[in-house]
Amino acid sequence: MTAIILLWCLTAAQAMLVAAMGCYTFRLIRGPRAQDRVLCLDAIYVSAMLLVLTVGIRAGSPIYFEAALIIAVLGFASSVALAKFLMRGEVIE
């Protein structure tokens, strides 16, 4: 029973996370400014990481942890680069 509840909640959570990503994607496309897009990409990364965690919980397996960890540690690198590009027009000076 609890397993089914957990399953349903996980499914719902995944759906919500995907919906969140959908919202961000909408902004990503709409903009209006580049900073909005970058902000949304960063947020999508985090949501994706959360999604990975839920997949891990669902599978009951720790093997998805690495993917989440990579986003947590290095996911910001690309958004930092994008942000720096906006600010300076150059990523590495």
């Binding site: 995907v18 496309i29 998805y64 690495e66 990579i70 290095l74």
Partner: protein, 973 residues
């Protein structure tokens, strides 16, 4: 001795030619001695073989070359070959002697002798070849060396043109001949001359007889300058005269008629043969003679006369009667003698007077009576005057022309053509004698003419004597040799013929008389006109040469360019379109042929997954739409698609892929951003093609994209819904742990089962990194990218304007706090990399993932502190990382070889360590360490190489400034 005579006859000239090139450059005399001696040796060897060929004997010599293809280095000398070999080497010897005096010391003598001797060797090869393919080999060599000889004085445009035309025509013919011979080989099953000569009936009755005949005749007629390919010959007159003497008497052009005579027993006697050969011969006979009378250039006259005489021979060969063949062979010999002597005489005249123009030459007999006499006799022989050799063969020709061989208009026309041709020959012969030697001596010779040195005149004399002797006592002189030659061609069909000078009052004699009379009368009336004629009557406009040139230009230049333009492109987009179309066609053909069905295999449904891909697809389409004007947006959207791809890997049980793709995603984004700085701002205001055509093109591309997308979707769906086949995967899963020592099967595949792939893959990465590095070392930014980005300019000017801020305050300030975190992440990334690396064999991760993570850590520092800041502190030597990583990986793999196992064999065992316990030690881990090293090096190298351009930009800007300064200064001074 006899055993090696044949190869020696051919080889000696070649060897001597090569030896001549080693002589000092100003060695006319030694070169002559060398050439003369070898030619003499060839001649002597040939003559020494007479006993063997006398009486129908054949000397054969065979060396294996490519036996399985029926190609042997087979040499074969029968009577016909013998007489030709003797002719070639004999006249060759005379030409060598003559050349000694003809060629000026300034000319490159060594080259002349090389080409000349090689040409002679090739001609001897044609004559002595016992295998048809070998014959073609030598045949082509004669074309090549004649090209070089004709173009000997290549500083003259005419020489170049003449040489090119000669080679073009004869090479076309040669290739046709090769095809013909191949067909013959197909019919007969052998290229061996003996076998082919014995298979006449099989050949003539084969379906492929006509194509074979056409191809072979194309070869022989071009070589012999027969109509309609006659035009190259007069242009070849730009060759040095000794060359002309050789090429147009005994060799080159004779090769064509030689081969026709050689294959006469096999090919002749059919209506096709008669028609083609006869028509070509008859036309050449008359046309050559007709054109000859109009020539103002002495050598031109002789050249057209050659065409005409070869036409005579060809016509004789076409008749298909043995007697005609005898006449043909006889005339080949006679023509060689008088034509060689005439050319040499022409050379003497040219040499002595400095001109060959018949209009300027006159009354030379007074200055050079001996040469004049010789030339007159030779011309008389050419005209067919009795008691000279030309008369005899012409008499035989008339006799055959009158005979009826095949009842057709051609046969009927033959006697008239014969008489007409002969009459014209008389005309131009008289014109030659009269115009040059008789009359009032010209005042306007460039040089005062003299008799030439004795040894220059000697060859002419010898040949003229031969004309006389043969003409007077043919039976005693040429008789036996002719008999040998003829019987070896005709074999059992050899007819009875008489070489007597006097056969009584016969029709041929009457024809001879008519020809002589008409020719003389014609000259009497038209001589003055001919002397003034600018171009031949009636044929002035139509010149084969021009038609040929135009055709060649049209086909080989304009046509080819058109084809290249219409059926090719240099633009990338059409090429891409074609590639895509080809792929679609390739995939669609079998799918449509058999129909693509889907299976029912399924892994369930998932709304979130569908939603995820909804996002992914929207991002992809949006990226495609934005990539033109909104590059950054497109990049961000691409990142979205990439992330969804990663998530799918997570979803679908591929954590390794997800981790790898994620890291690659991150690095790629940074990379493209680094590159984006060097692309110009793209505004929508830029004028782009629009209108219906552009829309149609867009629509077409859209259709292509949709079709390809649908196809890929269909194919993947078709496979995914099918039951999986019995794959090799189960093996990997079963043995990954027990034999590979790892629980992460994908990683074990990568470093062990298919470690070889990984080795290659990291090589690719390393190579690309080196390429990127190399290319950027020479990077030159576009003019509009040299400047700082706009943001930086604005910020810089702001900083400079503020009193309490220095240049660079803004970048320092805005990174002041964030950079702290970015720096503190550095050791974390190192730990992460170590973690990913060490866990790889049992869980997602591995050398590649760890390497990219590590590289990302470095790049983070570059972003935080800037290039200079980082490189002050860290000495990253990416190239060393690449090299070291590769060496480590490769050598780890190679160690197993020393144990005796195959390359890349992996070893693993559990090692008990104090405190730590049993841990698995796999050699694959060391291999993976190499992978790690390479990936770190390569990724860092690529990113940093681009990043460095920003520093180099400053230098570039400074250089540009300096350049402008220099420019200004130059303007002032």
């Amino acid at each position: 001795m006899e055993l090696y005579s044949l190869p020696l006859i051919i080889a000696l000239p070649f060897v001597a030619g090569l030896a001549a090139t080693l002589l000092p450059s100003d060695s006319r005399a030694p070169a002559t001695w060398l050439a003369g001696a070898t030619t003499l040796a060839s001649l002597a060897l040939t003559l020494s073989l007479y006993p063997s060929v006398h009486g129908g004997g054949i000397v054969r010599q065979r060396f294996e070359w490519i036996p399985s293809l029926g190609l042997d280095f087979a040499l074969r000398m029968d009577g016909f070959a013998w007489i030709f070999a003797a002719l070639v080497s004999g006249i060759g010897l005379l030409v060598v002697v003559y050349t000694r005096y003809y060629i000026s010391p300034e000319d490159p003598v060594r080259r002349f002798h090389l080409f000349f001797l090689a040409f002679m060797g090739s001609m001897l090869g044609v004559v002595l070849a016992g295998n048809l393919i070998l014959l073609v080999v030598f045949w082509e060599l004669t074309s090549i060396f004649s090209f070089l000889l004709i173009g000997y004085w290549h500083h003259n445009q005419t020489a170049r043109d003449g040489a090119r035309m000669a080679l073009t025509i004869t090479a076309i013919g040669g290739l046709a001949l090769l095809s013909g011979v191949l067909v013959i080989g197909h019919i007969v099953g052998s290229y061996d001359l003996d076998t082919v000569l014995a298979s006449g009936n099989a050949i003539r009755n084969h379906d492929l007889y006509v194509p074979a005949l056409l191809l072979i005749l194309l070869g022989t007629l071009t070589k012999s300058a027969q109509f309609p390919f006659q035009f190259w010959l007069p242009n070849a007159m730009t060759a040095p005269t000794p060359v002309s003497a050789f090429l147009h008497s005994a060799t080159m052009v004779k090769a064509g008629v030689f081969l026709m005579a050689r294959l006469w027993p096999v090919l002749s006697g059919t209506p096709e043969w008669f028609l083609i050969v006869g028509l070509a011969g008859m036309t050449s006979l008359v046309l050559g003679a007709y054109l000859a009378i109009f020539q103002q250039d002495l050598k031109g006259l002789l050249a057209y006369s050659t065409i005409s005489h070869l036409g005579l021979i060809t016509l004789l060969l076409s008749l298909g009667s043995p007697l005609a063949a005898v006449a043909a062979i006889f005339h080949m010999l006679n023509h060689a003698t008088f034509k060689a002597s005439l050319f040499m005489a022409a050379g003497i005249i040219d040499h002595e007077t400095g001109t060959r123009d018949l209009r300027r030459l006159s009354g030379l007999f007074r200055y050079m009576p001996i040469t004049g006499t010789l030339a007159m006799v030779a011309s008389a022989a050419m005209a067919g005057v009795p008691l000279l050799n030309g008369f005899l063969s012409k008499e035989m020709f008339f006799a055959e022309a009158v005979e009826t061989h095949a009842d057709s208009w051609l046969d009927t026309a033959a006697p008239y053509a014969a008489v007409l041709g002969s009459a014209l020959a008389v005309t131009y012969s008289i014109r030659l004698i009269h115009s040059i030697f008789l009359g009032v001596p010209s005042e306007s010779f460039p040089r005062e003419p003299h008799e030439p040195p004795f040894w220059m005149r000697f060859p002419v004399m010898l040949l003229v004597v031969a004309c006389l002797v043969v003409g007077i006592i043919p039976g005693l002189t040429i008789g036996p040799f002719l008999q040998v030659a003829v019987s070896s061609v005709l074999g059992a069909a050899t007819p009875q013929y008489s070489l007597a000078v006097w056969h009584g009052f016969t029709l041929p004699l009457a024809m001879s008389a008519i020809a002589l009379a008409v020719g003389a009368v014609l000259y009497l009336f038209a001589g003055d006109y001919l002397e003034r004629a600018e171009s031949p009557l009636l044929f002035g406009r139509i010149q084969g040469q021009h038609i040929f040139e135009r055709t060649m230009v049209a086909i080989s230049w304009r046509g080819a360019r058109l084809v290249e333009q219409v059926f090719g492109t240099k633009r990338l987009q059409p090429q891409m379109r074609l590639l895509v179309a080809a792929a679609v066609a390739a995939a669609a053909t079998p799918l449509f042929a058999s129909g693509l069905g889907f299976g029912s295999y399924s892994s369930g449904h998932d709304v979130a997954f569908a939603g995820l891909w909804g996002i992914g697809m929207v991002c992809a389409v949006a990226a495609a739409q934005r990539a033109k004007f909104h590059r950054l947006a497109a990049l961000v959207l691409l990142g979205g698609t990439g992330l969804v791809t990663c998530l799918s890997f997570v979803w679908l049980s591929a954590p390794d892929l997800a981790a790898t793709q994620l890291l690659v995603e991150i690095v790629t984004t940074v990379l493209i951003l680094l590159g984006l700085r060097w692309l110009p701002k793209r505004s929508e205001a830029l004028r782009e093609p629009s209108g219906p055509l552009a829309r149609a093109r867009h629509f077409r591309d859209l259709v292509i994209a949709v079709v390809v997308g649908a196809g890929m979707a269909a194919m993947s769906y078709a496979v995914m819904t099918r039951k999986p086949p019995d794959t090799i995967a189960h093996f990997f899963i079963e043995r990954a742990y027990s034999e590979g020592g790892g629980r992460n099967v994908v990683n074990v595949i990568l470093v062990d089962f298919r470690g070889f792939d990984t080795l290659g893959e990291i090589t690719v990465l390393g190579t690309v990194a080196l390429t990127v590095f190399a290319l950027l070392r020479r990077f030159r930014p576009a003019q509009d990218s040299i400047e700082r980005p706009e943001q930086q300019r604005v910020q810089l000017s702001y900083d400079e304007a503020e009193p309490d801020r220095g240049a660079g305050a803004t970048p320092t300030e805005y990174l002041y706090v964030p950079s702290v975190i970015m720096q503190w992440m550095f050791p974390v990334v190192i730990v992460l990399a170590a973690y990913l690396f060490l866990r790889g064999h049992d869980a997602p991760g591995g050398g590649f993932t760890a390497g990219v993570a590590m590289a990302a850590g470095f790049v983070l520092q570059y972003m935080a502190g800037g290039t200079v800041w980082v490189e002050d502190r860290l000495r990253i030597l990416p190239v060393r990382w690449i090299g070291g990583g590769l060496v480590l990986a490769a050598l780890t793999g190679a160690t197993s070889i020393f144990v005796g196992d195959a390359f890349l064999t992996s070893y693993f065992r559990y090692v008990g360590l104090p405190l730590i316990g049993k841990i698995p030690m796999a050699s694959a881990t060391i291999f993976d360490l190499g992978v790690f090293g390479l990936v770190v090096g390569a990724t860092v190298l690529m990113l940093i190489a681009i990043a460095h351009q920003s520093i180099r930009r400053l230098r570039a800007a400074r250089l540009e400034e300096e350049r402008q300064l220099v420019e200004e200064r130059r303007q002032w001074s």
